[in-house]
């Protein structure tokens, strides 16, 4: 009987090996195609995600909720010390609130004086975070808004307070946001106090690096970092966070957005900045501006 079995396997085994070979070749083929023609495969990936993740959604929301509930219950254990901490913070906040109110009034007065108009086209779409990247090496989240809501690659994403990331990959009903902490994230920024331009580079830590500063001495920990709008990627002036110095002496941004709980994100509609294409005419046509010298000579 045992002999029968080995004979039976004799023609099955090579077939299995061949199948394995074909499968592995196909996979390597997919990888090579991705390497050669990345955008097309990434679009395909967006479609795959678009098809799969929403079908998980009915289960994801309750499970996420349950896990967060358990975490909240755990935090009740520390409730007394938290309470004390919060009171102390509240005291400080009252002080700040007073300062903020005064500044707001002053700001309103100054804006009024300057006759400034804020850009009315800067509206936003709010989406719910459906899934994260699922891997420790990539920092991104998936939103439940996509092409049908008019989302376009490259738009900025914020939570209520600060910049969170950039849309990269749009499906019919989902869009992926690459967070500022991802290793591939590079955002042009400016530090308004000293007017220094910088790039905020994600490096898979909670606080991205600030680099390409012209004068790092002029930047102090605590300075605000906002997006600069250079390169026309983002609207200017979105709050990113505050400068902090790490133990190695490198400057980093402590992000203003609350990365611990990303639930609802705003995608800012960005109509794009207008580009000036011509060189500008220095000499006016037909010499329509008569200069005073000529007039004097004529007389």
């Amino acid at each position: 009987m045992a002999k029968d079995k080995t004979q039976g396997e004799d023609f099955v085994t090579p077939l299995k090996r061949m199948l394995t070979g074909v499968v592995v070749l196909c996979l390597i083929g997919i990888f090579l195609v991705w390497r050669i023609d990345s955008p097309r495969v990434e679009r395909f990936r967006a479609q795959v995600v678009d098809a799969i993740v929403p079908s998980f959604d009915w289960a994801m929301a309750p499970v996420t909720g349950a896990v967060n509930l358990v975490r909240d219950v755990q935090s009740y254990q520390r409730i007394i010390e938290q309470n004390r901490e919060l009171r102390r913070e509240l005291q400080q906040m009252k002080m700040w609130k007073e300062a903020a109110l005064q500044l707001e009034q002053e700001n309103a007065r100054l804006l009024d004086l300057n006759n400034v108009r804020l850009d009315p086209r800067l509206t936003y779409v709010t989406g719910v975070v459906m899934a994260d990247s699922g891997s420790p090496f990539r920092q991104s989240v998936l939103l439940n808004v996509g092409h049908r809501d008019g989302i376009v690659d490259g738009w900025a994403t914020m939570d209520g307070i600060g910049l969170v990331g950039r849309i990269s990959g749009v499906g019919q009903s989902t869009a992926r946001v690459i967070l500022l902490t991802d290793t591939s994230s590079r955002i042009p920024a400016v530090i308004p106090r000293s007017g220094q331009a910088a790039i905020v580079m994600g490096d898979n830590t909670a606080a991205p690096l600030v680099s390409f500063l012209e004068n790092p001495e002029k930047v102090r920990p605590g300075d605000r970092v906002v997006s600069s709008g250079d390169g026309g990627v983002f609207p200017a002036g979105l709050l990113i966070g505050q400068v902090a110095e790490d133990p190695g002496g490198r400057l980093r941004v402590r992000l203003a957005a609350d990365y611990e709980r990303l639930e609802f994100l705003r995608v800012l509609r960005n109509p794009g900045t207008e580009a000036i294409t011509d060189h500008g005419a220095l000499v006016s046509q037909a010499g329509s501006i008569p200069s005073s010298d000529e007039q004097e000579i004529d007389q």
Partner: protein, 179 residues
């Protein structure tokens, strides 16, 4: 005897797919949006290897390839590379499975450990040869180590919760009789 019926075979294959989808699902939950210093084990790979070593017929090539490709797509990894490596390694382990049947768990652990390390290293090697940006080396090392450390647990769950046991000499006889 019931253990080797075709119904049981297909149930266990379906069970493997369900397990894989569960792992994908839990990793996709939006619980960790902060970058982590520390990573968990690659459970999908550990479970695949544990099943392949125990019962090669429960993890067919096409199923492993499909599941891994899906994981590549969903987790923003370069599609195809890690799946190809894992499929190759699973097949290699399957071929060794009959030899491992009589060995102790320690031997199995060492061999799976070598397999996991080989997959992780060759993945990084190919990525760096093709100049593809990749994750910090530290994280990969932690993930490899965590996968190795949790492997006994994975093996335990595989054996007792899913009932995937190595073929015993008695079973082999009945299977032979059936074939």
């Amino acid at each position: 005897m019931i253990e080797n019926s075709p119904a049981r075979l297909w149930t266990m294959r379906a069970g493997y797919v369900a397990l894989g989808l569960m792992i994908l699902f839990f990793q996709l939950l939006p619980l960790e949006t902060l970058p982590r210093r520390f990573t968990g084990p690659d459970l999908l790979m550990a479970f695949t290897f544990a099943w392949a070593v125990r019962r090669p017929d429960y993890v067919p090539v096409l199923v492993v390839a499909g599941l891994m490709l899906m994981a590549d797509m969903l987790f923003q990894r370069p599609p195809g590379l890690l799946s190809a490596l894992i499929v190759l390694m699973t097949e290699a382990l399957k071929r060794r499975a009959p030899g491992l049947r009589d060995q102790t768990f320690a031997v199995e652990w060492i061999i799976v450990g070598i397999a996991v390390t080989a997959v992780m290293l060759s993945n990084r090697l190919v990525l760096s040869v093709l100049l593809i940006p990749q994750a910090p080396l530290g994280l990969t090392l932690i993930q490899t180590a965590m996968t190795l450390i949790t492997y006994p647990l994975v093996a335990l769950v595989t054996t007792f919760a899913f009932g995937v046991r190595k073929v015993q000499p008695g079973d082999a006889d009945t299977m032979g009789g059936r074939a």
